[in-house]
């Protein structure tokens, strides 16, 4: 089994989807000869041709809107937006069309599209290249929001997204693209959407996160273990639908939880998870629900970026703070 980066796993899943289903088409800026700015579509033009891997002009609105049109016709468009900071003009399409076509036509039309985009900070990119829009996206009825945290889950979840009968926004953590390798089998097997993954079992506190934040969460769990604290790590993976069951089961078991994400805290996805824990697992809690998030500011440029992101040390501190409750 090949050891792949997350980026290579994305490429592999795209190739597999193109191979398996003639209705799968990739569209986006620079995705052809250039293979995408991160090379997620590298080699696919040569292999599948111009009709399947289509470079678009520099126009995010019509990329998203065309994906809607193709999807309504029963094709499987996978659109790439170069960076999450440039996807805001797609929100109109996601909110006003993709997310509601099925319901407003009472099932006559549907929109099985995928919108892929790199998200999150930590690669010292220029301004507007490090955004974490998962909270805004997850608030949209009718779409699904998925973010993988490892190469193998990127492969399985992307295949699931492409095969899903509804619109899926697939958020690829930029920082993870080349950070780590993992064996990935090209078996064409999709992972379920709407399912959280227990990345590490523990009994004292649940650390809940998604995407790139799980790197620091994992490091923190290791440090905590060395200090005698057994942390369970939950990879939410799918923010909408949300696997409340797995999250609540973990918190009921451990009695403590810390939710970690890069996006600003105010009205962030962590707030929803915290609210569900407060209403469904209150009696199991021995400490308040903790949240460690990005600051409620714009993402700073490269020099202050690392101070903005939740670090392993800050996660450990916050977790130990919660451990003080008995």
């Amino acid at each position: 089994m090949a050891e792949l980066t997350l980026l290579e796993a994305v490429n592999l899943a795209l190739a597999r989807a193109l191979e398996d289903d003639p209705d799968v088409v990739l569209i986006g800026q620079d995705i052809g000869v250039n293979g995408g700015v991160f090379r997620a579509t590298g080699g696919l033009l040569a292999r599948f041709g111009e009709q399947r891997v289509r470079d678009t002009p520099l126009a995010e609105t019509v990329i998203a809107a065309s994906a809607v049109g193709m999807a309504v016709q029963g094709m499987k468009p996978v659109a790439e937006i170069q960076f999450a900071g440039f996807m805001y003009s797609c929100f109109d399409q996601l909110i006003n069309h993709a997310g509601r076509l099925r319901t407003r036509t009472r099932g006559r039309l549907s929109c099985p599209m995928v919108l892929r985009t790199p998200v999150g900070g930590g690669i010292h990119a220029p301004e507007h290249h490090s955004e974490s829009p998962e909270g805004w996206l997850s608030h949209i009825p009718g779409i699904k929001v998925v973010t993988p945290a490892s190469p193998a889950s990127a492969y399985g979840l992307l295949l699931a997204a492409i095969r899903d009968p509804d619109p899926v926004v697939f958020l690829e953590p930029t920082r993870l693209y080349r950070l780590l390798k993992e064996p990935v089998e090209d078996d064409g097997v999709a992972l379920p959407l709407g399912r959280a993954f227990v990345r590490r079992e523990g009994t004292d506190i649940s650390l809940i996160g998604w995407g790139a934040a799980l790197v620091e969460v994992g490091q923190a769990a290791q440090t905590l273990a060395e200090q005698g604290v057994s942390a369970e790590v939950i990879d939410v993976a799918s923010l909408r639908p949300l696997d409340s069951e797995t999250i609540l089961a973990s918190v009921k078991k451990t009695g403590r939880c810390l939710i970690v994400h890069e996006a600003p805290r105010l009205y962030g996805a962590g707030a929803e998870i915290a609210a569900q824990i407060a209403s469904e697992a209150l009696m199991s809690l021995v400490a308040p629900v903790g949240r460690l998030a990005g600051y409620d500011t714009v993402m700073p440029l490269a020099r202050l970026e690392d101070d903005y992101l939740p670090s392993a040390a800050r996660i450990v501190d916050a977790a130990l703070g919660l451990m003080a409750y008995r």
Partner: protein, 357 residues
């Protein structure tokens, strides 16, 4: 100085406001205009009935298409059933021609989603309310046709105001680059709510907005159904044969308020409106048909009676349609009900039980 590029926008009119037909387009079959006239007349009757229903609290906000019947029915009448219409909210005439039922249209404007689940043209798009946001759907639909090598065309209808949005330009541009089988039909009815066409653009025509996308733009008298059918028909056949997209501008006039929630007297003069009445599309077509011996007074009387009977039957059926179950608000959101909606569905079902039980 050399000229780097030069363009022109052709204008078509065959049937003038007096109902005179000057040098008709090749292949014009006057007989074919009879069903077109009938649907135009029904559209106008439907429109009046819908406004009356709104005034008596039996329908919600309704956008009248009074005066635009030649444009909407005309463009639909040159589409094939398997082409896809991507409409906005003022194309009642096109819906009716393509087989959407009056009951479905009433239901939609009454606030019932089943009005968008039409039994008729199943692949047509539902009404797009966010202005111009459907232009890119047309490029996507057309790309799907192209991908599957189907000889089908995506016909996107929009208003003059909609051409001010970037969405329109992005779609025209992409359609040009990919040579997509798309026709963008801009119905220029003179106004976008209270903003006149001259404040929407500094261009002499809306058709010329095609030129920046590298595709042809043509203009026609949108109250002349012969011209509408000619220019839209040519654009559709051009698209179908693989020659790519066209922007068609149809010059018409919105003879009434923007919607039933609007009062157009606040922003335009009575003189302007009465001058526009002299140009309206229905009378000129009737005059032509009558002159050609294809339409008599008795035909008109029979049509009026027939239209009224159809409409009253439709109104009765619409008013008798039972409400949707409350659970339908979650039932169609996703193909499969996600966990977070299971409890909400149960709550809705319980509330519904309470309602009727």
């Amino acid at each position: 100085m050399k000229t780097a590029a030069q363009f022109s926008v052709p204008y078509f009119q065959f049937l003038d406001a007096r109902g005179e037909l000057a040098e008709p387009p090749p292949g014009l079959a006057l007989n074919a205009l009879i069903p077109v006239y009938r649907t135009m007349a029904f559209t106008r009757a439907f429109d009046a009935r819908a406004v009356a229903l709104q005034r008596t609290g039996q329908l919600r906000t309704f956008p009248s298409s009074l005066g635009e019947e030649a444009a909407t029915v005309g463009l639909a009448s040159v589409m094939r059933a398997e082409d896809v219409l991507l409409p906005t909210y003022r194309e009642t005439g096109a819906f009716l021609w393509r087989g959407v039922t009056p009951v479905e249209i009433f239901l939609y404007w009454a606030g019932d989603e089943r009005g968008s689940c039409v039994a008729g043209p199943r692949e047509d798009f539902p009404i797009s309310v966010p202005i111009a946001s459907h232009c890119g759907h047309a490029t996507g639909v057309a790309a799907a046709f192209q991908h599957r090598k189907q000889a089908r065309v995506a016909v996107c209808v929009l208003g003059d105001g909609a051409t001010s949005k970037g969405d329109f330009y992005e779609a025209v541009n992409l359609a040009g680059i990919w040579r997509l089988p798309t026709v963008f039909v801009v119905i220029n009815n003179g106004w976008a709510i209270s903003v006149p066409a001259a404040r929407q653009t500094a261009c002499a025509t809306f058709a010329q907005k095609a030129i920046a996308g590298g595709i042809p733009g043509v203009q026609a008298d949108g109250n002349d159904v012969v011209a509408v059918r000619h220019v839209v028909g040519q654009a559709i056949e051009r698209a179908r044969s693989g020659d790519g997209p066209t922007v068609v501008e149809l010059l018409s006039y919105r003879l009434t308020d923007h919607t039933t929630a609007d009062d157009a007297r606040r922003y335009r003069s009575a003189e302007e409106v009465s001058a526009a009445w002299a140009e309206e599309p229905l009378v000129r077509l009737r005059k032509l048909l009558a002159r050609e011996g294809l339409w008599a007074k008795a035909d008109e009387e029979a049509l009026i009676a027939d239209n009224q009977a159809r409409l009253e039957a439709a109104v009765a059926e619409y008013l008798a349609t039972p409400p949707q179950p409350l659970t339908s608000i979650v039932d169609y959101l996703y193909a499969e009900l996600p966990a977070e909606l299971v409890a909400q569905r149960a709550e809705l079902a319980a509330r519904e039980g309470g309602h009727h039980g």
